[in-house]
């Protein structure tokens, strides 16, 4: 009666993944500083394996086409790359908001002027303390602090917006007010007060880095006070240490949700520490298009969304607030990357962490640092 119905091709479900907002471009792992909380992975990429200028250019074009808005040139020390200026030019050409995350070491007045002329949008300058003695002890680089002060002045002279990035820990947390005031003196519009994350190299120095609970509470109070007082002068972004908090931080704003990281050799990670999760494999931009890696790769889909979550995360009302916290921290402490972040009050490991934290952050001598060298 009727012509046989030809069954249509099975419809392949199309994954709808919103594009990333920001890309961290780790241009190199090389760095003159030796910070005890270095966030580079334990196994660093050698100079010979770094992406070339042409490869980075392609990555920047692909990122912009996908919908990335901000590119953060970072490292290591990105100024160690001679083509930093050219990559800033490419970033601007393709419409990206270009941010330089630097220690300042390796920048000269001429380079700052050139970067500014090429349209660099913003600079984030790290400081390790409010005086040369402390800062140079932490960074393991003599003269670093004085040089940073010069770099800040060159940035200011160009009218480039500056964020001071202050990494806080046991040796400098009590100086948070002075740190904020230094940022104002340097003409910064914004300060990021970030407590050290205890990952990778920092684990070796945990006892020297973890502040006491009382130090953290005092710091938080100062931040709240100064934030109100400096409204319209300085924006204060504050990342409290999660070893002392109740709920975990929304690490990376959720896995594969907001940010994408490129290692110096082109390996693409959902967060800069993700390579510490041993069962995941990561593609590189030398093998696959960036958009495919973001949308389709098994690593980016491993902990994306909420379907992967076990209990207690699965039924938790905060699962779309903190996305289960940090997968790398779960890996490090629970030995299972899909476990509840051990910093969460709902984690069975929370008490163990608290005891460990409180024992190690006892008032007393700060143990000597185990410095990071290349």
């Amino acid at each position: 009666m009727n012509a046989p119905v030809v069954s249509p091709e099975p419809v392949k479900a199309v994954r709808r993944v919103p594009p990333p907002m920001a890309m961290l471009a780790e241009l190199t792992h090389r760095c003159p500083l030796k910070c005890p909380y270095c966030s580079n992975p334990l196994e660093m990429v050698k100079r010979a394996d770094e992406l070339t200028t042409e490869e980075w250019t392609s990555v920047l074009r692909q990122a912009a086409a996908m919908g990335v808005l901000h590119v953060h040139f970072s490292g290591g020390e990105p100024a160690a790359r001679r083509d930093l200026e050219d990559l800033v030019t490419v970033g601007r050409e393709v419409g990206l908001y270009t941010n330089l995350i630097t220690s300042g070491v390796g920048l000269t007045e001429a380079r700052v002027k050139d970067l500014s002329a090429r349209g660099l949008d913003h600079v984030q300058l790290s400081i390790q303390g409010t005086d040369s003695e402390t800062a140079d002890l932490v960074g393991g680089y003599r003269g670093g602090f004085d040089h940073k002060m010069k770099v800040a002045a060159w940035i200011g002279a160009e009218g480039l917006p500056l964020t001071v990035n202050a990494v806080m820990h046991r040796r400098n947390l009590h100086k948070v007010r002075e740190t904020i005031h230094l940022a104002v003196e340097l003409g910064a519009r914004r300060i990021e007060i970030a407590n050290t994350q205890i990952h990778g190299w920092a684990v070796k120095n945990r006892a020297a880095l973890l502040p006491t609970r009382a130090m953290v509470d005092a710091c938080t109070a100062v931040v709240m006070e100064e934030r109100e007082r400096l409204k319209g002068t300085l924006v204060i972004d504050y990342v409290p240490p999660d070893h002392h908090s109740i709920y975990p931080k929304a690490c990376m704003g959720g896995w594969g949700r907001v940010g994408i990281n490129i290692e110096p050799n082109g390996k693409v990670l959902p967060c800069h520490a993700a390579a510490t999760i041993p069962h995941l494999t990561f593609e590189t931009v030398r093998e696959k298009p960036l958009a495919w890696i973001w949308n389709e790769s098994s690593s980016f889909n491993a902990y994306r969304g909420t379907d992967w979550m076990p209990e207690p995360c699965r039924s938790c009302e905060r699962k779309t607030v903190d996305f289960g916290g940090c997968r790398c921290q779960a890996m490090a402490y629970a030995g299972d990357a899909s476990a509840t972040d051990p910093m969460c009050i709902k984690s069975p490991l929370r008490d163990t962490i608290r005891q460990l934290t409180e024992a190690e952050s006892e008032v007393g001598e700060i143990p000597a640092y185990e410095y990071r060298t290349m």
């Binding site: 594009p19 907002m21 919908g67 901000h70 908001y97 917006p161 964020t163 519009r189 914004r190 319209g232």
Partner: protein, 99 residues
């Protein structure tokens, strides 16, 4: 002690978007976005229309006049909305008053 929005942004002041802050149309998300250090703020069409008049030469009063003429809307209402939004951006250091 607290300054009113009118103190922060008087009619005679000339606001301008700070260096390091850019308004652009985001093709992927089909919306205007205001890009600033570590921030990307979705800008609705009304806010985008206000920001497009912030060119560093017009006073706040002139901006409101232009918008009132363009959109045939009550001047007072536009002034209130525009001031609220721009003062918020002053607080976030995305906007500044030209000297």
């Amino acid at each position: 002690m607290t300054a009113t929005p009118e103190d922060r942004l008087p009619d005679t002041a000339t606001p301008r978007i700070s260096r390091g802050v850019r308004l652009r149309f985001d093709e992927a998300r089909e919306t205007y976005m205001l890009l600033a250090p570590e921030r990307a703020v979705k800008v609705d069409p009304i806010a985008a229309a206000i920001l497009e008049e912030v060119d560093g030469t017009k006073t706040f009063a002139a901006i409101v006049d232009t918008l009132a003429a363009k959109y045939a809307a009550p001047r007072e209402q536009i002034a209130g909305d525009a001031r609220r939004m721009l003062v918020d951006l002053l607080d976030k250091r995305m906007l500044e008053i030209a000297p």
